[in-house]
């Protein structure tokens, strides 16, 4: 028996006979053809990590609570009719004829008590998630995208381009992020999109530095040389061949930075430079409680106005960090066990 394969003549080998042999192991052909994607494998790993899954459930729950806290109306059309928060977060309850006073301790009617303006703290904490969470996710998405492009260009081209681009980063790293954010907000004024811009302006540099380092490692691979040899353009080489192989640490970093941004936004709110003073943003709520402590509450201490909004920030950031650690383990993005976690800016 012989088989012709090109110009090479193979003898003494019968494919049919090999196929029909007794299996030596339970290894099967079908299993091998179904290769498991990297992301499928990572997700399987992630699901096995109990603390990361706990974090994921908490983040999902908090996001849903914020989303369904009050109805959402866009251009007169109610797109989200549910209202989980029992009261309007901005409503001063005694002004509405309700029998509620300022600084009422937690009770069944008001699970988190009422604040200094007789507003329902529970409703405000639920609703406040909207500000912090949405700013966190938007900023991280935008900064990761900017940092990815910037770092990829710097790392791929190298030379003086890299040198100049990296010196710009050094400048940003010379200041504590919070300080720059404060100045930017002072320049632009208070408000939601101003906060987004301020945290975007300071946030992208970290991703740029990270992705540049990864690109420097990846671009030495032979497949990059092969792609270039086949005549692929720089843009194609960068975004089809280099970036996908360098992206795992970026995803880990992004998941950990959401916490950093949320704390930063709350810190600005706490300093009175975030959103307008009456808004139900977590940090802004804490700013008002600091004033009550300073002025002396007279008799009982309204601990609930401090504990609950701050607890919400802590719970969210902690859960995000658990998720980030889980992603890090699942993607095996960094060899060491320690990545810079999302914390204070």
């Amino acid at each position: 028996m012989s088989t012709d394969r090109g110009r090479i003549r193979i003898t003494g080998f019968d494919a049919d006979r090999v196929e029909s042999r007794e299996p030596l192991s339970d290894w099967t052909e079908t299993r091998d053809t179904e290769t498991e994607g990297r992301w499928t494998r990572a997700w399987r790993e992630f699901r096995r990590n109990r603390s990361a899954m706990l974090g994921l459930y908490i983040v999902i729950a908090m996001s849903l609570l914020a989303l369904f806290a009050r109805p959402i109306t866009i251009a007169g059309v109610t797109v989200q009719p549910f209202s989980l928060a029992p009261y309007d977060p901005g409503a001063i309850l005694y002004a509405q004829g309700l029998d509620v006073s300022a600084y009422e301790a937690p009770s069944l009617a008001h699970p988190f008590g009422t604040d200094g303006s007789a507003r329902d703290v529970f409703s405000r904490v639920l609703y406040g998630g909207r500000f912090s969470l949405s700013i966190g996710f938007i900023v991280v998405f935008v900064t990761a995208a900017i940092g990815l492009v910037y770092g990829a260009v710097a790392g791929y081209y190298g030379g003086w381009v890299d040198e100049v681009m990296m010196r710009v980063l050094d400048l940003i790293f010379a200041f504590p992020g919070l300080l720059l954010a404060l100045i930017i907000v002072a320049v632009l004024g208070k408000g939601y999109w101003e906060l987004v811009l301020a945290f975007t302006a300071i946030g992208w540099a970290g991703y740029a530095r990270l992705i540049r380092g990864e690109i420097l490692k990846v671009k030495e691979n032979e497949y990059v040389l092969a792609a270039k040899a086949l005549g692929a353009r720089d843009r194609r080489v960068i975004f089809r061949h280099v970036v996908p192989n360098a992206i795992a640490p970026l995803i880990v970093q992004a998941s950990l930075s959401i916490g950093t941004v949320v704390i930063g936004v709350a810190a600005l709110g706490f300093l009175g430079l975030g959103l307008p003073p009456s808004s139900a943003e977590w940090g802004t709520m804490l700013d008002q409680t600091r004033q009550t402590i300073v002025q002396g509450p007279g008799g009982s201490i309204p601990w609930w106005v401090t504990v609950f909004p701050g607890g919400a920030i802590f719970l969210f950031v902690m859960s995000m960090n658990l998720i980030g650690d889980g992603i890090n383990d699942a993607l095996d993005a960094q060899e060491g066990e320690d990545v810079a976690r999302g914390g204070e800016v």
């Binding site: 100045i183 930017i184 802590f314 320690d338 800016v345």
Partner: protein, 317 residues
């Protein structure tokens, strides 16, 4: 490269960054629409345009932006950082009066961070994957996730309001008085917690890495007690990585001071900065920003040099 050459090159590389930092500081602040003079005019409508121009000229707020930058820079280099307009006082003594308070706070935070992180980091690395290691991991994760302003408020709530061990606000006393130093404990713990959590994890992983090296096996093989191996051989090598993040932590302590000083009404630079932002004190904002940037750059430079001194291999890279 010799050590001296390495230091010379690093110092030379710092100069353009210092220049960039001054430009960025100036540019950021001068994007601000309106200046204190506008506010002053808005509050006092009787000021005539001629008087307004005279005030502007007095504070150097007329002329094109690049010229203002050069004027500002040459003034800064001569030690003239401008005026705090609201109290009509030069910026430099204003900052100098508040600097010791912030430095005391930062040092205290650093001390707490080191006191907590080094022993727990060593313990966690030596007893890897035991209950103690897991607890240290939980502590680190919580420490990093705690917003410092909330931690500060909670400390006030528990230790000042409920237990009555500390006054609620910083007493208005000179820094080196017993009351002030006692009060420093609360803000010090607040500012040190996040740093100690980061530092502890770095300590643990660098210790764990060193423990796997051959010189450790050699030290054990020649019969040294485990205590000596860990504290004399491993610890000294793993402290090198702590110095590398020291500069980063200095920056985070600075940022922390802005918030923590506000919580505890601590009369330092951070509180002055927030006040400057709210009152649009342009000279003061620029001075504090520039000061912070320069401090962090110098801290980075120092960390690099320390690293080269402690680990001679780095110079030949």
């Amino acid at each position: 490269m010799s050590l001296r050459r390495f230091i010379a090159v690093r110092v030379a590389a710092t100069i353009p960054i210092l220049f960039g930092v001054s430009v960025l500081t100036f540019a950021l602040v001068h994007l601000t629409p309106g200046d204190p003079i506008d506010q002053m005019v808005a509050l006092n409508p009787q000021i005539s345009p001629a008087e307004e121009a005279a005030i502007r000229a007095r504070y150097g707020l007329d002329g094109p932006v690049w010229q203002q930058y050069l004027t500002w820079m040459s003034n800064v280099l001569q030690g003239n950082l401008g005026t705090v307009i609201s109290v009509d006082q030069p910026v430099l003594p204003y900052i100098m009066a508040r600097l010791p308070e912030t430095i005391a706070l930062g040092l205290f935070g650093w001390a707490i961070a080191l006191l907590i992180s080094i022993p727990t980091g060593i313990y966690a690395a030596v007893n890897k994957d035991t209950l103690g290691d897991d607890l240290s991991r939980v502590f680190a994760l919580s420490g990093i996730s705690l917003p410092n302003f909330w931690l500060g408020l909670m400390l006030i709530l528990v230790f000042a309001l409920w237990l009555d061990l500390w006054p609620v606000l910083a007493p208005d006393k000179p820094l080196l008085s017993a009351e002030m130093l006692w009060y420093l404990v609360l803000p010090g713990v607040t500012i040190g917690t996040a740093s100690s959590a980061t530092l502890m994890r770095v300590m643990r992983s660098s210790m764990a890495e060193e423990m796997n090296k051959e010189y450790v096996t050699a030290a054990r093989a020649k019969g040294l007690p485990e205590r000596t191996v860990v504290l004399k051989h491993v610890l000294r090598n793993s402290l090198i990585s702590v110095t590398t993040i020291a500069a980063f932590l200095t920056a985070s302590i600075f940022a922390g001071a802005v918030v923590v000083e506000q919580v505890f009404a601590w009369p330092g630079l951070g509180r002055a900065f927030v006040g400057a932002i709210i009152g649009r004190e342009v000279d003061l904002i620029m001075a504090i920003t520039l000061f912070t940037g320069v401090t962090i750059i110098l801290a980075n430079l120092l960390a690099d040099i320390m690293y080269a001194v402690l680990d001679p291999r780095i110079r030949y890279d």
